[in-house]
Symmetry: C2
Subunit: 193 residues, 2 copies
Amino acid sequence: MEVLLGLLTIAPMSGYDLGLTIRASVGHIWNESYGQIYPNLKKLAADGSVTAKTERQKGKPDRTIYSITKKGRERLAKWLAVPPQPEIPRNELLLKLFFGTQVPADVLIGYVESMVEGEGAVLRELTRIEHEDIAQNQHYPGAPYWKMAARFGQLELKAHLRWAEETLAELRTIAGKQRSDAETRKEKKHAGK
Amino acid sequence: MEVLLGLLTIAPMSGYDLGLTIRASVGHIWNESYGQIYPNLKKLAADGSVTAKTERQKGKPDRTIYSITKKGRERLAKWLAVPPQPEIPRNELLLKLFFGTQVPADVLIGYVESMVEGEGAVLRELTRIEHEDIAQNQHYPGAPYWKMAARFGQLELKAHLRWAEETLAELRTIAGKQRSDAETRKEKKHAGK
DNA sequence: GGGTGCATGTAATGGGTTACATGATTCT
DNA sequence: AGAATCATGTAACCCATTACATGCACCC
């Protein structure tokens, strides 16, 4: 809800643009789906926090451009003044790892590897943003804060990748043991026949 | 839902115990409230994944002890075989920092400081768990996986704390500037009179 | 007597995702 | 011709937290 107000302080935008901008700027921090954005914009308009203007376009469909109002800025300020509550963690990968005894280690290796892929891509994207986007907006007063947020993501992701390396090494030795155990069982079965 | 099955592979437990155990073991990874645990246990019992036995206690109220069944183990295995989807991030602190221009820096400093407090405590708790709990259960086959999960938390939290330090330094210089700016405005007002 | 811990549960409420629907244009 | 992008929206559904309710016992 308040992400919308926050982004509208930077520039007036349509709901569609807000979706794109969220993904491009605060995507690694926060997410909102269109099923959330459009209804919320309506609510914000109803309470006077934003105003809507319809803009005709040639070729493309009409856009509804939203701008933040004084009341909207107050609402944003009020929200910013509320101390953020610590988030409840919910890491499915880690939970599955925790119950690792119930799955072959190879499966877990696959999960960690695709995590490395995914997070690696985000990390590269984040460093790109730091160099290109934020550097280009040096003049904008928000730049230092954007950098802090980007930096958080970088440090966290690097920590994840370091963990993944050390964990993969361990999982591979476990997987090796599981394979040799299976071998032994096969041999015994063979001998038993 | 499946956390319950997973923990029941370690030992049969009541719903109340499951709540406590979740907090103590996978609390930094996953969370479930009692409003979730009790209805889910009923559903799991209805589908034959767990069995319930009522246990009378002197003094204390009756407990319903749940045990996992063969069907429950299969269900757990099926869930473990599904690749975990990357989680959608939702970090309120970071989002508020991102819109930092709209708040006095002192407020942000307070937020980061209480994050340091909170996460610092979790980090200490996590290292304690690694040394005491997991070390004591060396014999249990799950131990290496528990260590991996604990290690993830440690590395991540350390990264957060490093980020917090560097961010606090930057926020403090910003806050200093804001204070001297306010000074200047006051002087001008004074001179103007 | 009152607070705290044990123990179980339900209902209201809120939040959010997914899927669906529409429709025009541009690119391959 | 068909896919993708622009653009907006709604409805169904799921999940989860919060708050409430109950009741006993132990400790201060």
